[in-house]
Amino acid sequence: MLPEPLQTELKEKIASCEHPRELVIDVLTAIQEHHGHLSDEAVQDAAALFGLTPLEIDELATFYPFLYRQPVGRYVIHVCDSVICWMENGKGLIEHLQKRLGIAMGETTPDGLFTLLPVCCIGYCDRAPAILVNRKVHGPLNPALLDELIDRLQRQARDGEAAS
């Protein structure tokens, strides 16, 4: 279930919009941010908010690469595998990343920190090869810079946990 404050916030937003349907992706994203992903229950919650059927919501939730129907890690790494990044040794970078994290594309590390997903050109071809971490861009990368980035994220997660 959605927590009361989020539910109220979303309801108010929907009620104030002339064409509530234009908010479906926003609301799905907000629910996803809360739960980490869109479970079957989340799809039903969103459907109820809009008065749509769960199927209508699922048609969208399964269509878009930035909506996750399965659990993902704290850091979702979208690796660009389109032509310019490919030409700049993007493939080697992907292999390096998989080895470093010990997972294949589409998988999440056992500690729940990282999920690896392939993505089409992210529009930073002038900084190829480039990746997104939770939608933030990093590039141009090489294996050494990539390692530094992963180190930093691991540290950040550890320190964050110690602080909280």
Binding site: H19, R21, E22, V24, I25, D26, L28, T29, F50, L52, E56, E59, L60, F63, Y64, P65, F66, L67, D81, S82, V83, I84, W86, M87, K91, V119, C120, C121, I122, G123, Y124, C125, D126, A128, L132, R135, K136, V137
Partner: protein
């Protein structure tokens, strides 16, 4: 670096976005203020038509004409939709434009809105551009506070609001009809007109969709006039400047604002700094992933819509992707097809079934498993791709056909020797 007039990039800074004050200092919002106070919507449409401002999103349709398609007695409300979903590999100009000078886009949208008496503008933006979306939301607020957007703009009777709509990905959402479906929370499959969006678009109301760069040109056309805009181009058939986004094996990948019709050679060799040391030019795609390869023989062609069309090429988005001698074109085309196959919306058979088949054949050729009959099969499949529901599959056919006709020896070499001789870049 160049003495060409900078129009869209005149306020571009190396490390930050231009502020509202800077935009206004350089003449920003003057066109809008003048339009809403002193000119009627028809005059704006006519100016844009006379300027021959062609859509910069790839299709090159005259933007003035599109605005004129909205009938005088069309119902209200009417909408402007800005397509900021650029997702074609190699294309990043709209992101750079928004990060350089966001108010230019907002003013362009308001002007387009005034030209068709629309009251709302929607910016449809891809999730990878979250920072651009935030910038736009902040600057919209500032523009409203300054009376440049919102209610009764510049004290006139014209009101115009802009909202930012975040997408959650997928290339097909850049296609006009699919984008309208996406905005209305329908599955974003394309839809063949009629009805046209200018008649029944967003929420069944008249809607004009324009690319970011096209809208950014509008304030300048209205402020300086059609003749001035036309004269910016180097070729008689061109008009205005163009943002060429160069990527690949050049020294300085990036976006360059140059006159429409600048020779391809100058873009690559002068502005993008030439090839990286030790590498030789093999080919480039002139306008994103759905254009044909251009070879050394084309380097002196003028880069504008007409000149390229006359030679069987397309300017597309002006995203120049440069490949060197050591890059395998079978591998590159395989990668492009991979993109189109993944991004197919799955609605129609030639695209849904054809692209994976093409991908499979190319993958085998690249990996030393190709047979001579594959070439004929690829040719046949590329013909089927043209019989699809929307332009995605024909777009995919373009680099494929070009590979087969312009670089047949590279394909044959893979098949004959059962391997890729550029193996370091294989994949």
């Amino acid at each position: 670096m160049s003495d060409y007039p900078q129009v869209l990039f005149r306020n571009r800074k190396p490390d930050r976005i231009a502020t509202l004050a800077e935009y206004r200092q350089s003449g920003g919002y003057e066109a809008l203020a003048d339009a809403v106070r002193n000119r009627n919507p028809k005059a704006i449409q006519e100016e844009l038509l006379a300027a021959q401002l062609l859509g910069r999103g790839g299709a090159g349709f005259p933007s003035g004409k599109k605005l004129m398609t909205v009938a005088d007695d069309a119902p209200f409300p009417r909408y402007i939709v800005c397509n900021a979903d650029e997702m074609e590999p190699g294309t990043f100009k709209d992101r750079v434009l928004i990060h350089a000078d966001p108010h230019q886009l907002l003013e362009g949208m308001a002007l387009a809105g005034y030209a068709i008496s629309a009251s709302v503008g929607v910016i449809f933006i891809r999730p990878e551009y979250e920072s651009a979306a935030r910038i736009l939301e902040r600057e919209i607020g500032l523009a409203m506070g300054a009376g440049c957007l919102g209610k009764r703009i510049f004290g006139s009777g014209f009101s115009f609001d802009i909202v930012v709509h975040r997408s959650a990905g997928r290339y097909i959402c850049g296609e006009g009809t699919a984008q309208l479906n996406a905005l209305q929370a329908r599955r974003p499959n394309p839809k063949l007109p009629p009805p046209y969006a200018t008649e029944k678009g967003l929420w069944n109301q008249p809607t004009v969709q324009q690319n970011v760069e096209t809208l950014c040109c509008m304030p300048h056309v209205i402020r300086n006039g059609a003749a001035w805009f036309k004269a910016l181009a180097l070729t008689p058939t061109g008009a205005g400047t163009k943002i060429y986004g160069v990527s690949g094996k050049v020294r300085r990948p990036g976006c360059y604002e140059l006159p429409m019709g600048v020779p391809l050679r100058e873009i690559i060799e002068v502005h993008a700094g030439g090839m990286i040391d030790g590498l030789r030019f093999k080919t480039c795609l002139p306008g994103g992933a759905s254009t044909r390869f251009m070879t050394e023989a084309h380097l002196d062609l003028a880069m504008d819509f007409e000149s390229l069309k006359a030679k069987g090429h397309r300017l597309g988005t002006g995203a120049v992707m440069v490949f060197d001698e050591q890059t395998c074109l079978v591998g590159a085309t395989l990668n492009l097809i991979e993109f189109f196959a993944r991004e197919s919306c799955g609605w129609c058979t030639p695209c849904r079934e054809g692209l994976p088949y093409v991908r499979d054949l190319l993958w085998r050729i690249e990996n030393g498993l190709g047979e001579p009959w594959f070439v004929g099969a690829l040719q046949q499949m590329s013909k089927h791709l043209w019989h699809s529901y929307c332009a995605l599959a024909p777009g995919a056919a373009s680099p494929l056909e070009s590979l087969l006709t312009d670089f047949p020896e590279e394909v044959e070499d893979h098949i004959r020797h059962k391997r890729c001789r550029f193996s370091s870049s294989a994949g």
